[in-house]
Symmetry: C2
Subunit: 351 residues, 2 copies
């Protein structure tokens, strides 16, 4: 017996009953395959009208079960709470919806176990594809995806078993280093005359490329970089604060050129800088490989590199659309942002 309660969701059978058509006809009409099934326009319109009237909403779990896909697309990121990844997330979301997919962004907190759990969860929900951004163990995830027959694309890190879309980190670091060298005041003497890169980890491909560019660019200026000029203290603000404080003590001031390798590290650096007098910055050129609108308006000029998140995601979707599943690598140029500037896109109508 049909439950007479209001709670029963309306189904295609309700519409079938009301319209006098069969469930399969209703289904075809409602999911757009009706033209291929030579259903008359009259029938189609009639059914659509009824569906609208009774407020029919399709059950995606039923459809998904039948079709063995879900209409959802996933992306994993280390954290939502980060300018770069949330910006990737925004583009991912908008572009997913533009193609009728439901976006699901999950954060891994940079934990390999969480990464695994999350990807497995998403597979359980039969997501149609996965973007992997900022994984700590890409190999592990690639294997899980491959085993589950899940299309996946690496974003902002290179994978071995599927296409990758990367920022041209070498180019970005080169632009930034060159700029910093050009702007370096020549007053700093002795140990303070050197250039330093701070932040990041060697496990991280992006960091590796940036260090390569940093080294090479300094090399072009006939400067040799020793190990102590590359300070790998991770991304955590606290660690960066400790590292810069220590460096300051060792060399007796700020270095002539300081390349900070992420915004989070820069937060830590700033917390130390806040303890210094304004004069401490006069002999240094400071840059950050990341973008925050306010960092460009500090008491000293900060040069920044901004990744083109929208382009990264756009490329990733293009690879999906064109069924590219080799392990090709696609690079996107970042942009050098001058101090006292706000990237123009941020001045759009949307907050």
């Amino acid at each position: 017996m049909q439950q007479p309660m209001q709670n029963r969701k309306t189904t295609i059978y309700d519409i079938a009953q009301r319209s006098g058509a069969s469930a399969s006809t209703v289904s075809a009409v409602l999911n757009g395959t009706w033209s291929g099934r030579r259903i008359s326009k009259d029938t189609a319109e009639h059914i659509s009208k009824i569906a609208l009237e009774i407020g029919y909403a399709i059950n995606m779990q039923a459809r998904g079960l039948r079709q063995a896909r879900s209409g959802m697309i996933g992306m994993i990121v280390p954290t939502h709470d980060n300018r770069f990844f949330s910006s990737l997330g925004q583009s991912f979301d908008s572009l997913a919806r533009a193609r009728g997919l439901c976006p699901v962004i999950a954060s891994t907190l940079r934990s390999p176990q969480e990464e695994k759990r999350i990807v497995e969860t998403l597979i359980s929900y039969a997501i149609d594809a996965l973007f992997i951004a900022g994984a700590t163990d890409p190999e592990q995830l690639g294997k899980i995806c491959t085993d589950a027959n899940l299309k996946h694309i690496y974003v902002d890190l290179p994978g071995k078993d599927a296409p990758s879309v990367l920022t041209d980190n070498f180019l970005g670091a080169q632009m930034l280093t060159r700029k910093l060298l050009a702007e370096t005041p020549c007053r700093a003497k002795g140990p303070r005359a050197k250039s330093y890169l701070i932040g990041g980890t060697i496990n991280d491909h992006a960091t590796v490329r940036r260090i390569e560019a940093f080294r090479q660019t300094l090399g072009e200026a006939r400067v040799v970089v020793d190990e102590r000029q590359i300070i790998q203290c991770g991304y955590a603000p606290r660690q960066a604060a400790k590292a810069i404080s220590q460096l300051y003590g060792e060399i007796g001031g700020l270095p002539a050129c300081l390349f900070v390798n992420s915004l989070t590290a820069f937060e830590g650096v700033m917390s130390f800088f806040a303890t210094l007098p304004a004069s401490a910055f006069s002999d240094s050129a400071i840059g950050c490989f990341d973008y925050d609108p306010f960092a460009g308006f500090l008491q000293f000029p900060v040069y920044m590199v901004r990744q083109d998140t929208h382009q990264l995601i756009t490329k990733a979707y293009e690879l999906l659309d064109h069924d590219v599943f080799d392990s090709s690598v696609h690079e996107v140029d970042p942009e050098l942002i001058e101090p006292r500037t706000i990237a123009i896109e941020n001045l759009g109508e949307l907050g």
Copy 2:
């Protein structure tokens, strides 16, 4: 005939066959209801072992279809790309996963039509609950949720038909205004001696409360606020830039006290400030109802109010857990952040 292809996903029937048990037994074991079904521990262990061996992964669409729920929980936000909402998102995500739910965060871009579409989509996927953060038309969404029998909770905006968790915007604005008045240099004369609030819209509850507090706090200091001191230019940086530029022209400089009503508006304000000499700021006290770590290190002090996003989300989950579905309102205190300070939570190990 069973397909011998590798592509067939393994199901509970595969496990049933291998273990000699029935599908329902396997199901009970795998979803934890087996103790209630008086299944022997031996059987359970045997089945679990096999499931692990053959790498079984549950099909959540099938489970969801059967149970008429999905194990997913949704949240809508205006944009991901925003410090406040991405911070809400992070807490939402972590806490969802902690209770075994799959978080889905979707952005509406502040469009009423998108809001509607998105909520309907989420309902089609049978999400178990929805957090509504930053909707432009909460009434519309409330009705849709109610009709679909979907538990929903308003976050950062008050709803009429379900519980709401809000920042105490009045308190925050009061703290900020008091601080600004206390710090206002007394040098400004004439029209520049007044206090201004810039940014936001009157449709927005948070803005309304902040304006109330701004007015009342100034009232306590025996100052009357006229309409022109409340500049409702929306949240877009571009509009805010235009508005502050216009104000500057009208009153011949910066006002003695400037209360900026959001970080995005503050971005716009900064893009105008960048055109001013450092001396332009000496007669003003400037504050922002929002937090960015770098905004505290600008060339002039900026007082900020930081909302407690984690507490907002924690409360919202508590309401879910305790089955609170009345239209009660729950407020969470924000925090006043002094310039030259980085909120301590940001200095954790995670970037």
